[in-house]
Symmetry: C2
Subunit: 297 residues, 2 copies
């Protein structure tokens, strides 16, 4: 998927995939209860089989998968070996992979995580990685540059879909204004979006879509959280949007919820699709994709 | 290390280790430049050898190690297999292990991470795990309970040692007061410490030291960040303190910096010790431990 040399980058790859298949991103979350429903053991072999069958069902039907790394990490190195196979199978099928690992740390350690997931040819190679900005968006900068330089992407958590997050993510952060001496406050979520968008704008090789996106949950009350979905971004800002399906938001409301961000908003669903079982998953993906096509016109 | 059945828990284990060996926590951070200095390859075999030699040097000299997971994850499943060996060797040597993985996610996914690192007998079993509260301390609650129930610990990032973190971590968060209708604001760092301390206080099986601690960087300006190191905590609050050594704080200033928290504050150093090389590491640990004994009287 690396086309960095041609100024295409992850943003361009993502845009093509959404144009070809629509915005559905299929989460690969091998919860124990799902493994049981799929008739698979709670083991590294079980999550491997679950992941490979999911990739099979997605192939030709949706453009993006998002394995939840926690469910593989449960089984240690054997779980990671399973995840490597699932990522490789996705790549072989031409499906974009977003490793949902939510990694965060100081710069040198985060660079280690970026190396793990975003190095072409590495065992855990994915097209993009979710990252956590608790230690400051600036702590992510080395990784953002590494991603963009390698034709890869990052999605920075900004306004997550879980209720318990609102307290911290609506906290107000001091912003020094461009007028000397002026200062004001913005929410944590808003500050993160601004910083990510500024990074994309500062890349001289940026195409029409940035390499770095944000995670905005579909269940979030955006105005209350200081997020303006209609604010302009140049290049365009990719959005990974969990919160659909099991967590309560309806995929067909994506335009109403995400406004001007809609064209690059990935509608992420996991449990609500995976519960269809190994034999029903393909049909569930087709049905949701058709709903989205109708809703997005 | 699990003594949960006897109401001892991770806090008690930690207290015993600090009493026996002092508060030094040796980071195991196989950066590429350190691997080179140690004459080891940048590979899974290299980080394995680096980790095992470090554990060897720590054994009998310090009570706690903290492997930085990012540097192992670079090598995918093979890196994790190496980390499993390093963790097992530490356990066999009676050394407490803190997996510095900074995991964070919504509750069900975070439970997966807790299962990975804090389940007795699991391949990646450690005594404690660092976790990230960006999605709300409440998103960590299932993992906090899991840790405490298994005689394990967590360290929740609260005020990290890197400069870029201050903006977000000093953001002000709405707190509803106990008087009906009253409200005030506290910093994000302060709110996290309060929430963690409240969890420890609510465990009926808590000993004199809580199972859940916080990460407070030694380089942080605590008053500016709203953190009162002399505030009382019952049970006592374990603190993991990076920022010593390479990042600039002197280990001998621990009491001055951490006030009433000092007795359970783990002085974490990585590069500043590891740069002594494989043959000098044991002496470097002895020297730093002696300095700390003198400083702590």
């Amino acid at each position: 998927m690396s086309d960095a040399g041609f100024g295409f980058g992850f943003g361009g790859v993502l845009k093509s995939a959404v144009e070809a298949f629509g915005p559905l991103c299929v989460g690969i979350d091998p919860h124990d209860f799902l493994l049981q429903e799929w008739g698979l053991p709670s083991s590294a072999a079980g999550v491997r089989e679950f992941g490979l069958r999911a990739v099979d069902a997605v192939s030709g039907r949706a453009g993006i998968v998002k394995p939840q790394v926690a469910f593989f990490e449960r089984f240690g190195s054997a779980g990671y070996a399973a995840l490597e196979e699932v990522l490789a199978a996705s790549r072989a099928a031409g499906i974009i992979t977003i490793a949902d690992a939510k990694r965060g740390d100081i710069d040198t350690s985060l660079a280690g995580y970026a190396e793990a997931w975003l190095t072409p040819g590495s065992p855990l190679e994915a097209d993009a990685l979710t990252v956590n900005p608790f230690q400051g968006v600036a702590s992510l900068e080395q990784a953002m540059t590494y991603a963009a330089d390698n034709g890869k992407g990052l999605f920075v958590l900004a306004a997550t879909s879980n209720r318990e997050a609102a307290g911290l993510q609506r906290a107000r952060i001091e912003r020094i204004g461009s007028d000397q001496g002026s200062s004001s406050t913005v929410t944590v979520s808003r500050a993160i979006i601004d910083d990510v968008s500024a990074f994309n704008a500062g890349r001289i090789d940026a195409g029409v879509v940035g390499s770095i996106g944000v995670v905005l949950g579909a269940t979030v009350d955006f105005p209350a959280q200081g997020v303006d979905v209609d604010a302009p971004h140049s290049p365009a800002l990719p959005v990974l949007a969990p919160g659909f399906g099991h967590q309560g938001a309806q995929a067909t409301r994506v335009r109403e919820l995400f406004g001007a961000l809609t064209p690059l908003t990935l509608v992420s669903e996991s449990r609500s699709l995976l519960q269809a079982g190994p034999h029903g998953l393909a049909a569930a993906i087709d049905a949701r994709s058709a709903e989205l096509r109708a809703a997005l016109g």
